[in-house]
């Protein structure tokens, strides 16, 4: 256990992205990372299944992508900052995904914010 993170398991709804998570989720993280390239985005738009096969995603990962299961991906080990590129590709805003991870609608989430218009 990383001594700097001792006690993190007691903080609910928080998933420290560490080396073991990074190893487990390297392929799906690289899959999303590649979406910063226009050509990769085109391939995904054309045939997502073929691209997921080519990139070696396993069944569990493919299911997460197909379902846009945001909280599932975080629990699996996807890093939010690569996920952000996928959020752009499917034309959602970060706010949509923040709400989804909390199990709320966008409207419900925005009601909890001080200045919801600052977007």
């Amino acid at each position: 256990m990383n001594a700097q993170l001792e006690g993190i398991q007691d903080i609910d709804g928080t998933y420290a992205f560490d080396i073991l998570q990074s190893i487990k989720a390297l392929r799906i993280n690289r899959f999303f990372w590649n979406m910063r390239r226009p050509h990769f985005r085109e391939l995904f738009a054309k045939d997502p299944e073929a691209l997921m096969d080519r990139e070696g995603l396993n069944e569990e990962e493919k299911t997460l992508v197909r379902a846009r299961d945001w909280i599932g991906m975080i629990r699996y080990g996807v890093n939010f900052f690569v996920l952000e590129k996928f959020i752009r590709v499917v034309r959602l805003s970060n706010m949509d995904v923040y709400a989804a991870m909390r199990g709320e609608t966008l409207e419900e989430f925005l009601r909890t914010r001080k200045v919801p218009d600052a977007r």
Binding site: Q4, E6, G7, A16, D18, N29, Y98, V115, P116, D117
Partner: protein, 296 residues
Amino acid sequence: MATILGGIGSSHVPTIGLAFDKGKHKDPAWAPLFKGYEPVAAWLAAQRPDVLIVFYNDHANSIFFDFYPTFALGVSPEFEVADEGAGKRPLPAIAGHPRMASHMAECLVNEEFDLTVFQDRALDHGFYSPLSLLWPHRPSWPGAVVPIEVNVLQYPLPTPMRCYKLGQAVRRAIESYPEDLRVVVVGTGGLSHQIHGERTGFNNTEWDLRFLELLEHRPDELARMRHVDYVRLGGAESVECIMWLAMRGALTERVRRLHQNYYLATTTAMTLVLYENDAAPAPRAAAMAADSGSVR
């Protein structure tokens, strides 16, 4: 000899850059943020630094987890703007300072900070989001930068103490640079926010204000805290405040706070602070009086 004039801490939320590009300066939801940057931009305009040393982090754009440095120093003559998936922001590339960067790398490695050196990697919102509000850049930027990338994404991260000590070593490196350059050190990120997991949306203004107090007067206390303390108090992604600690480490023991702005709108407590070094030299130009009103 190069001189450090002061330090700036600034959030690097990507929406700050987007709001800037869309010209939302007068939008009621954004005005409190943009107004907050004006005194610091005016201070920079008056002080006319030659080089900004910027502690920032890449957000899995130019650096990926297959090869992940803990600290990385940019030595290129120029740094492009990263395409983060929605096209590049309309900003010119910024000049690096290869001679100073190479001097800094030599000093830091000789002091046993074995950092990575990078060239030709674009900088993302972790760098350009605050820079675009601080420095005028049309048609080009008024000075050069030395970016220092910090791993705040994949644990183990460098400890808060290590970041503070890195800042102190950066100060020695700058002050041993033979050329007469004026330098400002910038730390980016924070303050409280969490943007992953069910705890997304967590903020803690009380802690943020305490953090600012400690940063100014007792940075050693912040340096002794652990990552988990930052996660608990400020939300998971607020751990990036260790980059503010690196900035603070590069300043004198006592600093003068010239400006502070705090604006929590949606998910991140967008914060800006300006410290002047205790023994800062007089401004280069005589006309700097207009800025004195910004002291709060």
